[in-house]
Subunit: 211 residues, 2 copies
């Protein structure tokens, strides 16, 4: 499994935004939408071995977690509006501390970064930061990873502290600061290559359902 | 310079489409919009050393070329709707064989793949195909490249013939078929890393204007 967490500091936590204005009305939700797409899409079909966790920290009720499970996901197209629409549907649910499913493969609950980190106990936490250790030297060793990325404002000091206390290792994907969704594409490529080198079929092929 | 060509076989060649339905009404224009964004955006600002050429081959008048010049580009945000809107504005111009500017850094003219290839004389043509030679072994040697990618339907036999006759080399970015915009992110990363290894500042920093 590859789990990917993106922290959306301004991302709206109610469904009353316009799909015609994801950057503005939805608090830079466009960033999270692109991350969902980069995390889950292959040329033909979905990466079935990927879960995406969006941590929404914007108004009006900061602290919602939306999870996209590649294995069960349906009704997702690669365009921003498509993931935006599934996010909106999730936010229109009656949200509690317990997971509820809004559409196939999409789940939502209340929670914060600590909630998420607690759910990853025993996994390898990899926090993406521009000055981290180069993933290229490490990809062959990485098993069952959880990647954590910031949005356009990065990751706060407080969040970084929580990540490091939880044992996260800091990794970089290259010599220049990029958008979060581009980083996700680069992570996948490193892991796909490592899987192919080990003689495995990359991209969650084993789990893939023909679409 | 890094030039990137994406062939949009279904992409609408008139401006009468809806920004609310880039996949449908605009002939999978969403694919080209994501390519523009992946080609041009860094975390802070634009890649000033990149030109993107969209070859639009859909109805009603197949054969339009829209060029985004990183060096002069303005009014572009990373979301799909933003590049979609600049594409739409370009398509609303009175289009001839000669370049006309629609908005700062965006140009449009009539033309086909041969028009484009003729304009790249003397450049290194690199055609992206899943079974090509791995870019990872080559990136250090690449100077002044022009990359050519297909859309969701790939590249036709006829187009491939033209590319090979023009001297294009076939390269791959990894062991699995990906979306065109993801391939662009991977190309950039390989070249950024090669530039950094040579002691250059990657990402067109020399040309960059502070935004
Ligand atoms: C747009 S960047 C954030 C920009 C900047 N770090 C800040 O604090 O405002 C979004 C996220 O992508 C990740 N990121 C961007 N470039 C990276 C790189 N070269 N290596 C590792 N992670 C990167 C980081 O997780 C970052 O929080
Ligand atoms: C969605 S893919 C096209 C899918 C498939 N090749 C077809 O013919 O329908 C879009 C484009 O991305 C490029 N591409 C995708 N995966 C690639 C890889 N692993 N290496 C090189 N290029 C790739 C190719 O240029 C391809 O035309």
């Amino acid at each position: 499994m590859r789990d990917i967490v993106i922290i959306g500091h301004k991302a709206k936590t109610s469904g009353d935004f316009s799909l015609n204005d994801l950057p503005g009305s939805a608090g830079r939700m466009d960033i999270l939408c692109r991350c969902v797409s980069s995390a889950l899409f292959l040329s033909f079909g979905m990466r079935r071995d990927v879960n995406v966790h969006l941590l929404l920290l914007g108004d009006p009720e900061p602290g919602k977690i939306i999870r996209f499970e590649g294995l069960h996901l349906r009704y997702l197209n690669p365009d921003e509006r498509s993931s935006g629409s599934l996010i909106q549907k999730a936010l229109q649910k009656n949200i509690t501390e317990r997971d509820i499913r809004s559409t196939p493969g999409v789940w939502i609950r209340n929670g914060d970064l600590n909630t998420l980190l607690a759910s990853f106990e025993g996994r390898t936490l990899l926090y993406l930061r521009e000055d981290g250790e180069d993933i290229r030297g490490l990809a062959g060793e990485i098993r069952d990873p959880v990647f954590i990325l910031g949005d356009h404002t990065g990751v706060t000091e407080e969040e970084e502290k929580q990540l490091l206390e939880a044992g996260a290792k800091i990794i970089s994907v290259g010599p220049i600061s990029l958008h979060s969704n581009h980083c996700i594409t680069l992570i996948h490529n490193e892991l796909d290559r490592a899987e192919a080198e080990r003689g495995e079929i990359p991209g969650g092929e084993k789990l893939r359902v023909k679409e």
